[in-house]
């Protein structure tokens, strides 16, 4: 195997030996791995943007082909009929479009793009959103064309897809803006009212003039009005919805407390009698809103995965007609059209192969990194990428009928569904509210019979004291703080219950490919069958594979500095390559292809997942065994999780020998191999029936049912979107060690929730009888309620420290 000590300065990939690509950056000559990186780095240097390399915190992505014909295709984006779907401002020459940028890995990328594109003549405005990787472009069509701008973005190594921001994006933005405004009104309002309330309480002790008190109350009322009518509206609408469906959710007591206390305070202000609770009402609204805002942020971020799917579809398709080829927008495709898909292009619609043979990268659907061979008659899916040679496809399903659209709908649904545990919490809250209302009614009717004057104020005290503020803040406050810490670590929590259940986990199960391993192939072993040694065999393999587009071929070709010349080369897509090197005919590829039917009884070492056979004149020459490398931090992560007392196991669909190798390397004792998705689910169910609480970590579509079946599911950030949609948590950082960190935070969060609940319940148990007996004046109830809410929130904030420490 070739040792490579050098990595590409631009993208960080190893530089193949003898490569001659280099660019002078920051005063030194830097090695590049490929002409793509070289071109991009030169473009960046020539643009005077070398500071990019000083400030970036991660390596750039390897630029995809800058083949001239693909660049030419960008000019199609200038056509008005195609621009219709994503460009606004048709009347004038000033146009606007939204782009999804691929390849943004750090803030320096944003700077690079904005400087480079923003400096082009004719570009009026170009701003990139780092969080969402979206860009807004405004340009003068009389000076520059959209295709030129897209070409410039390609030149510095990024890929831009115009997209129609109409759908989800707009809704998200509106939702976020509205939530922020509500939060601001509640926050500012709470601060103002609190200030006045302190003055009122102090005035009570010091003897404030009645007229001044009344003035303060009216001002408080004025400030609280927008808080209740605007900020707290979501609680009221949701509570009304609950009541219409005849169930009692958590929003019902919340609305009752807010509404009741507010109305009572208005009554007290107008009639100049009793106490006001504007401070408690506004503060309570603010706390609850902040919790919901953070929750919404996490949900939206997960939801953007669905939007990313749009960019998988190409904008143009090449249609074959009687007169030849024509390029049309994908939206104009009809059933039964014949289209041609070149290698490297995405397939625009679901269909069937009419002619040609190639292999197709279906990692979108399967998470499998190796392309799948497609022969005439095979079905292909929109959004997958043709790898090796041109295919002619008859279109069978378009637009919303495609598998891709179905996945997107599934994603949308998975994200909007409420998990079972959250529903249970709602149900419990329902009983709580029911009981509370009964108590208040009982107390009210008792006092109405014995002392009608006092009845109203005592019932109010009971309602305020038992107002489930602390109780309803106890869990969300802790969860919000913990979710925030985890997000800083790169662990995204998409479902509310995940944190709580993660703390109870007894078994953690892993998928293998893409989860414990990187999913990228490396050459593990070369087995030779003739007098030629490994290096000589590699030379021959590299010579044959030098033109290959297949990932395995490219891997083999990269092992050798300078491939030997080869003649009579014939590539059979999905099978292998044959050719003549130094007068000897060789074949390399799948076992059956390479042997051409001759006998071969070599026992394969199955510990490696893939093998390629090379033959010379029909006789076996060498076998190249490829394996999937472990993630660099997998061993450490397993050690930490074991230390935390979890039982670990691997559930894999792979062959036993491969799974065993991985398990032994990691020190995981339990593993099952050769499992179908149903088999994995059955394995989980078996564990669950023994009382285990199971967490599953996976990445592929084949893991989706298992992820849904486990109590807590974690998807890898690099995995398929479907897996992420059915998961409770997404490991955005891709660092397995963050799992144990997440476990620590979850355990701590559970402890804090228990403390909070204990406090809230204890407080209610003491205060309720006192209030019912009439010993607690409403103002005492209000202070007690505010103080206990505050205590609960402060306790929860202790969870915030976690992500911070990590970041240092």
């Amino acid at each position: 195997m070739t040792e490579t000590n050098h990595s590409c300065f631009h993208c960080g990939l190893p530089v193949p030996k003898g490569s001659h690509y280099h660019v002078e950056i920051l005063g030194e000559d830097r090695e590049m791995c490929c002409p793509g990186c070289e071109a991009v780095a030169s473009a960046i240097v020539e643009g005077g943007l070398t500071d990019f390399y000083k400030h970036r915190t991660q390596n750039s992505t390897t630029p995809t082909t800058t083949v001239p014909e693909i660049l030419d295709e960008l000019t199609l984006y200038d056509r008005p009929e195609l621009q219709r779907s994503f460009v606004t401002g048709d009347d004038s020459e000033i146009k606007q479009a939204a782009l999804i940028l691929e390849g943004i890995v750090c803030a320096a990328c944003v700077w690079l793009n904005e400087r480079h594109v923003g400096g082009l003549p004719g570009v009026i405005d170009f701003s990139v959103n780092y969080a969402t990787h979206r860009a807004q472009l405004k340009w003068d069509n009389s000076q520059i064309h959209l295709s030129d701008i897209l070409k410039e973005i390609t030149a510095i190594g990024y890929v831009a897809h115009p997209f129609d921001p109409g759908r989800q994006e707009q809704i998200y933005k509106k939702e976020r803006g509205q939530a922020l405004k509500r939060l601001a009104v509640a926050g500012f309002g709470a601060m103002q009212v609190m200030m006045l309330a302190v003055a009122l309480y102090a005035g009570e002790a010091e003897g404030m003039k009645e007229s001044m008190k009344q003035f303060f109350r009216w001002i408080s009322l004025l400030i609280a009005l927008p808080v209740i009518l605007y900020s707290a509206r979501p609680f009221f609408t949701s509570a009304l919805g609950d009541l219409k469906r005849k169930r009692l959710g958590m929003d019902v007591p919340v609305s009752l407390a807010i509404g009741g206390a507010f109305l009572a305070s208005i009554y007290a202000t107008v009639t100049n009698s009793g106490e006001v609770y504007f401070d408690s009402v506004t503060m309570f609204t603010f706390f609850l809103l902040s919790g919901r805002f953070l929750e919404m942020g996490a949900r939206q971020r997960a939801g953007q995965a669905a939007e990313e799917l749009v960019k998988l579809l190409p904008a143009m398709a090449t249609r074959l007609t009687a007169d030849g080829e024509e390029v049309i927008p994908v939206t104009d495709l009809q059933h039964g059209d014949r289209i041609r898909v070149r290698p490297g292009d995405s397939i625009p619609a679901d269909g069937r192969v009419l002619s040609g043979q190639s292999s197709v990268d279906e990692s979108l659907l399967t998470g499998e990194s190796l392309p799948v061979a497609k022969l005439v008659g095979a079905g292909v899916t929109a959004g997958t990428v043709n790898v090796e040679s041109p295919l002619e496809i008859s279109v069978e399903k378009i637009g919303e009928e495609t598998v891709l659209a179905a996945i997107r709908r599934l994603l949308d649904r998975a994200q909007s569904e409420k998990p079972a545990i959250a529903l249970l919490a709602d149900k419990v809250a329902g009983y709580f509210v029911g009981a509370l209302l009964l108590v208040a009614l009982g107390v009210g009717s008792y006092w109405y019979l014995y002392n009608p004057d006092q009845a109203f104020w005592i019932v109010l005290s009971v309602l305020v004291v038992t107002c489930p503020c602390a109780l309803s803040l106890a869990t969300p406050a802790a969860m919000t703080a913990a979710t925030g810490s985890l997000t800083r670590l790169g662990v995204l929590t998409t479902r509310g219950h995940a944190m709580e259940t993660l703390a109870q986990t007894s078994h953690m199960l892993f998928d293998k490919t893409g989860t414990l391993t990187t999913g990228q192939l490396t050459l593990a072993k070369v087995e030779t069958f003739t007098e030629l040694d490994e290096q000589q065999c590699l030379m021959i393999a590299a010579a044959l594979e030098q033109v290959s587009e297949h990932p395995v071929g490219r891997l083999l070709a990269a092992q050798v500095e300078k491939p030997q010349p080869v003649s009579d080369i014939v590539a059979t897509p999905g099978q292998g390559i044959s050719g003549t090197v130094n007068g000897v005919a060789y074949r390399i590829g799948r076992t059956a292809y390479a042997l051409q039917g001759s006998e071969y009884t070599h026992e394969l070492d199955h510990a490696h997942s893939h093998a390629v056979l090379a033959t010379a004149e029909g006789k076996p020459l060498a076998e190249f065994q490829l394996s999937d490398a472990l993630r660099p931090d997998a061993v450490e992560a397993v050690r930490q999780l074991k230390q935390a007392g979890l039982k670990l196991a691997i559930l894999s669909g792979d062959q036993p020998a491969v799974v065993k190798r991985v398990a032994v390397e990691l020190g995981i004792d339990t593993y099952q191999s050769g499992l179908s998705p149903e088999g994995k689910l059955a394995a989980i169910k078996a564990l669950q029936s023994q009382g285990a609480v199971v967490s599953m970590v996976g990445d592929g579509v084949n893991d989706a049912p298992v992820l849904a079946g486990a109590e807590v599911s974690v998807a890898m950030g690099s995995g398929t979107q479907l897996a992420q949609a059915s998961a409770d948590m997404v490991l955005l950082s891709g660092q397995l060690t963050h799992l144990s960190e997440a476990l620590k935070v979850a355990t701590k969060a559970r402890l804090i929730v228990r403390q909070n609940l204990g406090w809230a319940i204890g407080y209610n148990l003491v205060a309720l009888p006192l209030a019912a007996a009439g010993y607690i004046a409403p103002w005492m109830a209000a202070i007690g309620m505010s103080a206990s809410s505050l205590l609960v929130v402060l306790n929860a904030l202790r969870l915030n420290q976690y992500g911070r420490n990590e970041k240092k």
Binding site: W111, R176, G177, A184
Partner: protein
């Protein structure tokens, strides 16, 4: 203490202005990207070769 009758309504006006300013900030997209601007400040854009940027001639040949 009668001054409070003036000061508190004045506070109310400031409260209204603060809310208006915040709503403006939300509408103009100040909260759209919470991560990028923190990094953006660190980048120099005074390289004379950056197209379309007016630069101080004294800062030439700074990179490298």
């Amino acid at each position: 203490m009668e001054i409070l009758y003036l000061l508190i309504p004045l506070g109310l006006v400031i409260f209204a202005i603060a809310i208006w300013a915040f709503v403006w900030a939300v509408k103009s997209g100040q909260f759209d990207d919470m991560e990028g601007p923190a990094h953006r400040i660190l980048m120099d854009d005074d390289d004379p070769r950056i197209p379309g940027k007016k630069t101080d001639p004294g800062l030439k040949d700074r990179d490298g």
